[in-house]
Amino acid sequence: MKKKTRFIIAVTIVLVLLGALILYLSKINIPVLEPKGPIALKERNLIYFALALSLVVVIPVFLLLGIFAWKYRESNTKAKYSPELDHNGATEALWWVIPGILIAILSVVAWNSSHTLDPYRAIASTTPKIKIQVIALDWKWLFIYPAQGIAAVNFFEIPINTPVEFELTSDAPMNSFWIPQLGGQIYAMPGMNTRLNLMATSLGRYNGWSANISGKDFSYMTFVADSVKHSTFNKWINMSKRSHYHLTSDSYATLSAPGTAKVHVYSKVLPGIFYATIDKYMSPNNTSAVVGSNYTPARANVSKGGMQ
């Protein structure tokens, strides 16, 4: 009897805690599970799908563990005891085959989704895409709008329902670019060029993170992405074009020196600065950025992967 009460108390505590946890989860903001764009939405659905499919194995495991532990406890001498029972071809085949089938299903999903959600793949839309070039620096993010000739630090704006193509590199240790509510990460690596396609379908301000350690102040290397109406976006672009800060070789050198930075925007961005940042790692003497105004990017080092 004493054991039974203890057991009931333990189960009650677990259930109460579980209830409290669920209540808490329903109250808080969980960005990965609250997508604001098609990529993040599909990625979240994949997470849910894999979780649901896993339950097919998890539930039997938990049930069997509980039932066997209870029924075949030492004190229960009424239970059948078969010390020599050590194999059964049919049942063993069952747990090679059933998980095998589940994994086969998941494999198809993994293969297909790797292709459909390939970060390099452009998002289909009637609205023309905008392009943002991202440079990870010690310890801030530089966002360049090559077509508009402006750039922003630790902050960028994108128009709603418009595909955005990010091109990424790093001029510091490797980093990882992540905006949970818009979609998953891609590395930004020095001397290399990666791509990521995202889109926001609601207005709002989304947090962006550095997901890979890059040195002392990496914790402060956060940014925000604002999804705004087209008119607001155009206004912002025009305003930025009037910024007194110009992104030149000199101001880039100042910006890229180790340290944190406040949000600000640049106008008159030196054309080709993004590719020059990549290509300088090709020269044996890579300590200084050699950026000329009529610089034509040599694309030899663009990483090849993905659907291009």
Binding site: P83, I186, T222
Partner: protein, 665 residues
């Protein structure tokens, strides 16, 4: 021009001695005080000679195993302290507060935590159990290469000493436990921290490689008569799998670390950004070692669980053949999944798709093992001793962690989880429940065989509950935080994110785990003090199945007075069933390896070399290397390395223990 004296000491300078950072200073001082206490204690009790003769020069795998576990437990405590500091920092460093640690200390702390836990805690526990049990389980007296075995242990120790020296002299790496370049390159990490990391792993890693070879040969060549491969206990099978993995994986680590050192020291460009280097090659190489490493640690723990669940269910292990196939499937597949650690590199959909599928495929043999364990319980007579509780806790947590793993195996899902605290929670679930719980179960299970008395069960169970409850509290919040966007290794975050309550709960969980560790230490001390009460006179305290339980506890240095002959799986169980108690024994003279100081001498030179390589003290490096080579040659030219244990002596000792058993019966 620099003075001659400065050059002689390389980069080392009086100012290199740690005085500024209170945390590391405190740690260094407490280690020194602890060491001093041991020295005083040894001198006071006149135990120096005993220590040297019986332990430091021993080649007995059981004693080496005990030393491995002592070192590993100390490192588990050190790594645990690091964990507590991380939890304290992340619970306090929010908004305008910047927490208890500086960012550079915090980064050193998490780098040290990962490094120490994997290389010196988990690996130490694993090799400890290998040494303690494999010869006994396969019915032999020793490993294939006893001196090599001792050297492996001492190299492991040298690596451990080097990693801890960084507390007092210089600094440790702040580049994470795998030190990805370009962050770990000289340009971004100019200090000696990364060099400490490189050389402590290099020295310990070479020891691990030698151990892997040793146990592979031991298992393949030293089994007793009648023990065919398919009669081997599952722990031996899984250790064989782990040994094969070590042999294939560790050379990759050795080469990778060496190339990084060349980059840092000679200005080469293997992994640098620019100059023709490619940092992602390092990331590929380190994970080509790193993923098999995970299975190196977990396979032997799976083996322990297989022994434990059969013994405490008093039933034969279910699906033995399936289990063996599952082990080898895991061994093979573990080399085909490394890219899942960096799906986010942008390698392309085909590559990601392939590695995602391979990662899921490896879940099948793992699942098979889980079901076989469960069906070992089916129609058993289950005794819920503490090893069995560790096993059941493992099943629950490991299944949850496995689900998280399957989710992350889908590349686009991983894009949203990679490098977040969700990932941190996932691999801690796998390694704590899989590896640590397994080794705790193994230590509790085999403790009487090694020391001759059992551990207190009640305290063992309390420790288990603290670990499990603490674990859930510490890591469930991290899963949630990861989905909230919290990336790993943050030493500060904004208060508006609402992360703090979860970090505080995680901190409470960590404290409960720490309480579990304290209870385990109390359990050890209490059991030693009451050892007469817990004495295992029968040699078979758990109603065991395999050969180790057929010899007295503690097992004599020669393990078996007469080498056994087996005719089935679970040979001891079968002999008990057949009521075979008195087997006529024919004692013969056996040759045993003599103790040797060569192992510890070699390791001292290796440590000297490692320290010199960290600080660029080239003269000392040359002395270390030369001494190392001379010590090896000296040892190899010694032909007098064995002694004869006479048949009479064996018979006499054996009869005494038989009489003791008889008396109990």
């Amino acid at each position: 021009m620099k003075g001659f004296g400065v050059n002689l000491l390389g980069k080392l300078h009086l100012s290199s001695i740690q005085t500024k950072d209170l945390t590391t200073l405190g740690a260094a001082i407490s280690i020194l005080m602890g060491g001093l206490l041991v020295v005083i204690l040894l001198s006071y009790t006149h135990r120096w000679k005993w220590l040297w003769r019986e332990w430091l020069t021993t080649v007995d795998p059981k004693r080496l195993g005990v030393m491995y576990i002592i070192v590993a437990v100390l490192m588990l405590i050190r790594g645990g302290m690091d964990a507590l500091m991380m939890r304290a920092q992340q619970a306090t460093s929010v908004g305008s507060s910047h927490g208890v640690l500086s960012s550079s200390t915090f980064q050193q702390v998490f780098s040290a935590h990962g490094t120490i836990m994997i290389f010196f805690a988990a690996m130490g526990l694993m090799f400890g159990l290998f040494n303690l049990m494999i010869p006994l389980l396969i019915g032999t007296r020793d490993v294939a290469f006893p001196f090599l075995n001792a050297t492996s242990f001492w190299l492991f120790c040298a690596g451990m000493v080097l990693v801890n020296m960084s507390l007092g002299i210089g600094e440790f790496s702040a580049a994470g436990w795998l030190a990805y370049p370009p962050l770990s390159e000289l340009k971004y990490s100019p200090g000696v921290g990364v060099d400490y990391w490189i050389w402590s792993l290099q020295i310990a890693g070479i020891g691990s490689l030698m151990s892997g070879i040793n146990f592979l040969v031991t298992i393949l060549r030293k089994r007793c008569k009648g023990m065919t491969l398919m009669r081997m206990p599952m722990f031996v099978w899984s250790s064989l799998g782990a040994s094969v993995l070590i042999i294939f994986a560790f050379p990759i680590l050795t080469v990778t670390l060496f190339l990084l050192y060349l980059d840092r020291t000679l200005g080469m460009h293997f992994f640098t950004a620019g100059g023709g280097g490619n940092a992602m090659m390092y990331v590929n190489l380190i994970w080509a070692w790193g993923h098999p490493e995970v299975y190196i640690l977990i396979l032997p723990a799976f083996g322990v669980f297989s022994e434990v669940v059969a013994t405490f269910s008093r039933k034969r292990l279910f699906g033995y053949r399936s289990m063996v196939w599952a082990i080898w499937a895991i061994v093979l597949l573990s080399f085909t999944v490394w890219l899942h650690h960096f799906f986010t590199m942008g390698a392309g959909a085909d590559v990601n798709g392939f590695f995602g599928i391979m990662t899921m495929v490896i879940a099948v043999p793992t699942g098979v093992k889980v079901f076989n364990w469960l069906f070992t319980m089916y129609r058993g007579r289950i005794k819920f001793a503490s090893p069995m509780l560790w096993f059941m806790g493992f099943i629950v947590l490991f299944t949850i962690g496995g689900v998280a793993g399957v989710v992350m195996a889908i590349p686009p899902a991983d894009f949203q989880i990679h490098n977040s605290l969700f990932l941190v929670a996932h691999f801690h679930t796998m390694i704590v429940s899989g590896v640590l719980f397994g080794y705790f179960a193994g230590i509790t299970y085999w403790f009487p065989k090694v020391f001759g008395f059992r551990l207190n069960e009640k305290l063992g169970k309390y420790a288990f509950y603290c670990w499990t409850i603490g674990f859930v509290l510490a890591f469930v919040p991290l899963y949630i935080l990861g989905l909230m966007g919290a990336t790993r290794r943050l030493d500060h975050y904004s208060s508006s994110l609402g992360w703090r309550p979860l970090f505080i709960v995680a901190g409470i969980g960590a404290v409960i785990i720490a309480l579990g560790v304290v209870i385990q230490l109390i359990q050890l001390v209490y059991s030693i003090l009451n050892r007469h009460e817990y004495r295992d006179v029968t040699g078979d305290p758990w109603n065991g199945r395999t050969l180790e339980w057929s010899v007295p506890s503690p097992a004599p240095s020669y393990n078996f007075a007469v080498l056994p002959e087996v005719r089935s799986r679970d040979p001891f169980w079968e002999s008990k069933k057949a009521k075979v108690i008195h087997v006529p024994k024919k004692y013969i003279d056996v040759s045993m390896p003599k103790n040797t100081s060569s192992g510890i001498v070699i390791a001292v030179f290796a440590l000297m070399f490692g320290f010199a390589a960290v600080w660029h003290i080239w003269i000392l490096a040359a002395i270390g290397l030369l001494g190392l080579i001379i010590a090896i040659i000296y040892r190899l030219s010694d032909d007098n390395t064995e002694f004869i244990l006479s048949a009479e002596k064996l018979a006499r000792q054996d009869r005494v223990s038989d009489l003791a058993k008889e008396y109990v019966r």
